[in-house]
Structures are given as structure tokens and as C-alpha cells.
């Protein structure tokens, strides 16, 4: 029998929780999150790094998890869409402002690209000084690398403004 894989055991903190997984060395991070760790909120739209649907935050920076191997995140911290909201300590969840904004502004239709947009925008907004009002150029830059086939982007851009305004109030 031909055995193609060799495996490694990696330790990675996902959404604040240390996780261990034994994965083939060729396993994409996107597949490891989805199939080994059961976090299916991260979606795969193209597997060649163009659409951005698989975007997750690795050590604070948005990355395309289909262009990264799972073994590369050994020892890293990964945030996925499942970790975007936080616990309200009363059995419920508090949505991230960008999640709230997407719902309020009808920034999603089929929802398949949405986790990638949410993670990209969350990283973008969290990485800026939110006491300063966001400009149209910043919004364009923030959403300009992800594909959506449903919305035509108008409401996604609106949602970024909405989320930035909410984060400004909190800043």
C-alpha cells in the first residue's frame, strides 16, 4: 500500500481555547479548522486565495486559511467566526459590532462569503484608531479583497461604516 501522508501533532489556541490535533502535514488550515476541529463556520470558496471566504485571524492578522498549512499555525492563536461574539456570562452571547452591523444593514444574502468578510473587517476595525471616523477609502480598502456574488457589496460597505460608528462610540 502507498501511504502518502505523514502526520504531525500541533497545538493551537483557537478562539481562546487550546486545541491539539494530529494532522497530515499537507492539510490546509481551512480543512483542519473545518474537518479536524469541527469549526465549519470558516468556508472555502476557491482554494486558491482569491475569494477570501476562508479568512481567519492568525496572531492578530487576517489570513486566507486555504493558503496556509495547518502545521504552520502550531503554537499560534487563531480566531474564527465562531469566536467573534463573546460570552455575556449570562448564558448568552454579545455579538461583535461587525456582526450586528451585517444583520442591521442586510450585508449578507446566502451567507457563504460572510465569515470571511466578518473576520477581515473585524481585524481591520480592531487594528485602527476608532476614535477617528472611518473614510470611504478605508472602507473600500477593507472590503476590496473579498468576493461576494449576492450583495453587490453596497450593504457590506454600509455595514463597515455602521460597525465603525458603533466602535467609535465604544472607543
Amino acid at each position: 500500500m502507498t501511504r502518502v501522508d505523514t502526520e504531525r501533532t500541533i497545538t493551537v489556541t483557537v478562539n481562546g481555547v487550546p486545541r491539539e490535533a494530529t494532522v497530515p502535514v499537507r492539510r490546509l488550515l481551512s480543512d483542519a479548522l473545518r474537518h479536524d476541529l469541527g469549526l465549519t463556520g470558516t468556508h472555502v470558496g476557491c482554494e486558491h486565495g482569491v475569494c477570501g471566504a476562508c479568512t481567519v485571524i492568525v496572531d492578530g492578522a487576517p489570513v486566507r486559511s486555504c493558503l496556509m498549512l495547518a502545521v504552520q499555525v502550531d503554537g499560534s492563536e487563531v480566531r474564527t467566526v465562531e469566536g467573534l461574539a463573546h460570552d455575556d456570562h449570562q448564558g448568552g452571547q454579545v455579538m461583535h459590532p461587525v456582526q450586528e452591523a451585517f444583520r442591521e444593514c442586510h450585508a449578507l444574502q446566502c451567507g457563504f462569503c460572510t465569515p470571511g468578510f466578518l473576520m477581515t473587517i473585524a481585524a481591520g476595525l480592531e487594528g485602527r484608531d476608532n476614535s477617528v471616523e472611518i473614510s470611504e477609502e478605508e472602507v473600500d480598502e477593507m472590503v476590496g479583497g473579498n468576493l461576494c456574488r449576492c450583495t453587490g457589496y453596497a450593504n457590506i460597505k454600509k455595514a463597515v461604516h455602521h460597525a465603525a460608528a458603533a466602535m467609535k462610540d465604544d472607543a
Binding site: 474537518h35 463556520g41 468556508h43 444583520r103 442586510h106 462569503c113 476590496g144 468576493l147 453587490g152
Partner: protein
Amino acid sequence: MTTKLFGEPVRRREDARLITGKGRYLDDIGHDALAAAFVRSPHAHARITGIDVDAALEVEGLVALYTYEDLAGPMAEPLPVLIPHPQLHAPRTGYPLANGEVNHVGEPVVMVVATDRYVAEDVCDRIVVSYEELPVVVGVDAARAARSCVHEEIPDNVAARHHQETGDVEPVLADSPRTLSFTQYIERSACMPMEGKGVHAKWDADDDSLRVYTSTQASTSVRAAIAAKLQLSLDKVEVIAPDVGGGFGVKIMHPWPEELLIPMAAIALGQEVKWSEDRREHFIGSAHERQQRQEITVGYDDDGRITALDVHIWHDNGAYTPYGIIVPIVTATQLVGPYALPVYRVIVESVYTNTVIVTPYRGAGRPQGCYAMERTMDRIADELGLDRAVVRERNLIQPDQFPYDHQLTFQDGRPVIYDSGDYPGLLDKLRTLVGWSEAEQLRADAGARGKLLGVGMAMYVEGTGPGPYEGGHVQVLGSGKVLVSTGLTSQGQGHETAFAQIVASELGVPIEDIEVTTGDTRRFGYAVGTFASRAAVMSGNAIALAARGVKEKALRIAAEVLEASPEDLEIDEGVVQVKGVPGTSIPLRTVAVLSNPLRYAFDEAARQATQFAGPGDDSKPPVAPGDAPGLEHRDYYSPIRSTFASGAHAAIVEIDPATWEIDVVKYAVVHDCGNVVNPMIVEGQVHGGVAQGVGGALYERMAYDADGQLQNASFMDFLMPYASEVPDIDIDHQQTPSPLNPLGIKGAGEAGVIPGTAAIASAIEDAVGRRIASMPISPTELYDLVRNDSSEMTAAAQRRAGTGVMA
């Protein structure tokens, strides 16, 4: 009333799960399933001379391999021609796995099942298929020339010759004061949902039953296809569309080979099997649409009024015709748009090519028809030196002419009779919205900045909500929960929200109490599917009728309890009460308990209901003849014919004569889809449609080479619009309710995409003064066109040149 939500921009109920990663798309199902992958043809046209799997058998993790030889019974027969038509004289379909011959790159040849997808693809890499290559036909012109043929028995490559005429066109053309003729082309694009196709199947050997999840727009029909092809009883097959990551038409085609092969393998292996299409597979193994060659002759008078229109179209249907000639028929019949044409003849020849099959993509032939009609209007205006809007205005069907009978037969076999509309109203609104009268000033301003500016417009009428039917079921539970189901599926249109709004309004219950299920054959077995902008019209009305049935029954039961007449009762916030008599009421959930004479007191609701239950009449049965236990109702909506939505778009483009980059600086939409259930959702549909329209006009094309290889089968090379390519969209609304259905609605799903190519072609032509007769158009093609001295200059440009205005 607080529960009248029809027409309100209610925030979507599906979003809570989709923004938290809790959606359940196809590949999220079946964690432990075996994975399938396919060896697909690398050749566009070839005979298979051998399949060598020896090296593949070595791979650890391989579970099973299937070729055509492994198919039995109906699975070994050609795939169905879903929609036969007398004018489809030479239909051809492929096999689930290629039977000796392949007719396009991407056709499945071998199915591999392994422990995971990585291993399945390893196996595919080790399978050697030998081919003897055959001559390849690519593009409508090559198909038409027929120097070689796709299917040996069809030497002219013509699958169908669709023909409709409303009178004798030739003598009218001969007598027309003016005529003009031209030829134009439109290219292939594709739906490209962000989620590809996918199938998961699980066989329960103890129960002899099959459950299939598939990313489809038609779960009930996939169920019927699986039952027929795998020779199972329909009641032993369940098909469920989970969350679907976009469809746009490609998922209404069915059964895809994989929708049959994955269940077949699951049954044979007694294990769960799953296949998720990857992006390259989607490019070469799904469907495309739009390529046509259009030859148009129009007769008209000196005022620009059309006297006769004669159209001959060659439509590229790809390698096979599983979806019949729906797209050609839609082009032929929707081409006429909002115009009164005294006589019209159309012939569409649907031709085979060695490329991926052509099945509906949002618009489904309408963008091509609109392109033909609207570019004709532009040409007439140019010849006569008239304003393009004025020529359109003179040909419009007037508001007092409805119902307007075009004397044509639509895709559903019903007459093309427009139900309602106000086309002059659309045009007026559009002119105001886009600033049509200021175009020359804008052109001068742009010229001062060194830019070429042009404006264009296009109008359309869209047959929406075709039959034959959809159904709805509404049930009130003793808990107060209201269960709503319909058989058609959802791919992001917000049906859970829109249908809940309809039930909340019809029944008078809080929307929070309503749960909507779509596309699940366990809940509703009869449906047609989600396509042709029909979900709101068809299922919306069916669900409204079902809710009305529930309300009627609830009032009848409550009337007995409250000792009132049903006419004096109303339901508000889930409580049945006597109008104007607060306190004389009964909760709807209690009525639900009372509706069933068998009431074990399992819960508080049943215990409470007993206080209302009367002694009963000993002379009558507990369930009256014709009645049924339970507070539920099932109903169907089956329209006499389609409703016709309409709209008008305008684009302003600016072109940089240094780079010939085309920038859509303004895009205006006036939209009429009758009564609107949720304006937020409708506007979202328009936005998304316009983005696809802009993509189809400027960026997207399937770049096949002469060997039938798709050169741009990735998101790197097939250019779908990002946010940076989609213009801001100004929208104005008009509402002419449909008289054909109880809710007065027309469909809205496809409208946004229809006029994009026509309007943008018109704007580019206006900007550069050269005839645009092939779309989409890239900056390089525009540069070549403008530099080519033999390319035709528009009369408008010549007039402008004569007056010194920059062309």
C-alpha cells in the same frame, strides 16, 4: 395591528446563524462521511480507449472506484432531458460517467470514493485514461459552420430550431419606410455561486431508506430523479437542501451526475458518502450561459416607430441539452420588452459545442433578449438623430393597454400576456434619476478633464413567477409556535423572513412565533423550485392561502367557544378576540389544542384548553365529515400565467483615453415588481443583480481556446467584480400590483442583471462614438476597436464631430 409586517423592511431571521458560523452548508454535513472525487476529461472531444486503474489500487484509503461499466439499469442510460419540446429535434444528454466518448473538458469519467478528499484526489492522480482525440467545436460560429460536429449523428450541430412569429414579417419589412440590419454577439459567463455544488448521501439499511442533502434549487425534483434512477420507492428517499451558498440558476439544473452517483455509492457501500465541488470543477463541470450570435432586421418609420422586427439567433447550448430549450425560448419571448411590436418573427437555433452545458444563469436568456431589443432602439435613434429615450417612449406599451397580449408562447407554454405595468412611468423616473437631460453637459465636463463620457439606458419586462404551482403548509401548535413550510428552496433570498412576514400578516401572529422550513421533502413533498423569480410569487401566495385556511378554521373553532360569529372575530398578536370587546378572547395556541379532540394533558396548554372544551353534541362525530384534527392547512397556488415585472436602467461611463479603462460612474435603476413583501430584501436583490450585470458587461467571460480548453477556470483569471468594480446604485421604485395573484406581487430575483449589458454597451458607444456589437468588452478590445479605422462610427459621433464636440 402590530402584526402587519407585509411591506416592512424586517431584518432577516436567517442572519443570526449565518453571522455566527452556525449555518449548515453542504460541506458542513457528514463529518465522518467517505469522500468522493472525480477523474474528469482533459479533452473537449475524444473517444475513451482505456482506463487503467492499477496504480490507483495501491493507495491506502481507497474504498471504491466506479466507471461507466459499473453503472446498471437506469443509471447506465443517458441522463434525462428534463424539458422536452417539439422544436428540440435532436436532444442529447451525457451519462452519469462517460460512456466511451467525452464532449467537453470536465465531463466525469471515473468516480473515486476514499477515506478523505485528499486521498480521493491522490487516487484520481494515479488513474490513467487513454483517449483518441476528435475534432473540436467551440463557439456559435464554429458550430454554425459545422466543419466538424459534436455528436456524430447531428452533422449540422443544431439541437433545436425554435420559431415564433406574430404575423407575416417580410411584406411589412418590405413596405417599411426604413429598415436596418446588424449582427451582434454576447459571450459566456456563469452563475459562480460562492459555494459550489455538493451532495451528501446516507443509506439506512435497516429502514431501506436514503437521505440526501444537496446544494440544490429543486430538492423535490432531485428526489424524484434519484428514486427513478436508483429504482427506489419515492417514499424511501428524502432530499434536503441545507443552507445553500448561492445558486443563480446553476443549481436548478438537475439531476447533476453527482446527485445520482453519490447516493448510488452510499447504498452500495453502506456508508455515508460526500462530494463537495471545488472551484475548478465548478468552472468545467457545471454550467455556463449567455453566448449568442444575433442577426436583427428592423423596419421603422421616420419617427422611430417600429413596424416589424425580424430576429435570427444562434444560441450556444454547449455539449448537451438536459435543460431543453428554456433559455432560447426565454430570449425569444422576452426580447420584445416593454414595446408594442406590430409584427415580430424570431428564430433561435440552439447549437452544440464541445463546451460545458448551458443552463439558466440569473436572467436565463433575458439579458440577451434585452441586449438585442435595446441595441435595436439605440440604432434606430442613431439613424434618425433622435434621443434614444424618445425612440423608446414612442414604442412603449401604454398603461391603458393591459392586459397586453404579445401573441407569443412563454417558457411555461402559456401566452405572453402582460398583466400590468406603467412603462412610460418607468422611463420618466429613469430620466430624472440619472439626469438624462444633462448628459451633454456631463460629457463636456468630462471632456475638459480628458475623459470620454457616455450615457446609456435599457428597459426590460421580465416574466416572473411561472407555474405550474407551489404549495404551502401552515400549522399552529399547542405551544403557540407556527410551523410554515414550502417545498421550494432558498439560496440567500431571505425566504424565512419574507414568508414569515406573510404569515404574520395573514394570521395575526407575532413573527417570533413563526418557523419557516424550505426545500425539505420531509416537510413538503410537492414543489417546482426556485428559479425564474418565482419564490415570492408562487410560494408566497401559496403560504398566504394556507394561512388564510388556518385562520378560517381558527375563527370557526373560536366562534363556538366564545359564542360569537366568526365574522365578529379577529386575530391579533396570536389571540382570537371579539372585535371591539376586549377580554372576550382565546389564545390561538388554545384554539390549536381544541382543534384536536384527542387531548391528553401532556402540558399546560392542553390542561388549559379543557376549560373551553364544551360537552360536545352526542349526535355528531367528534371530527365532523370533511373536517380534520389539528389547526393546520395546506394550500397550493397555481397561476393562470406568469406575472410581468419591469424596469429601466441607465449607466454613465467614463473612459480614460490613455488606458481605455471603463469606469461606470453612475448607475440608476427604476424597478417595478408589484407589491413588495420586504423592500430591504428586494433592494438587496437589485444590488446583487446589477453587480452581476456590470460583471457580465465588462469583465466576465469564459475564455475557451480553439481546443475547448477553458483558459480562465479560476478566480485568478475569471474576473468577477470585487467591491471596487461595482458602482454606487441609485434606485427608484414604482409599484403596479399584479392582478393575477392574491398578494399582487411580481418576482424580483433576476431583474437587476437583465439590462446591464445593454445599458453599458449603449453608454460606451455613446462615449467613444464607435459601434459596440460584441459584449462584454475589455479595455484592450475597446482600444483595438477605436484604433481600427474600419470600425463603424456612430451617426451621433459623426454629427458631434461635425459640430466640433469631442467624439
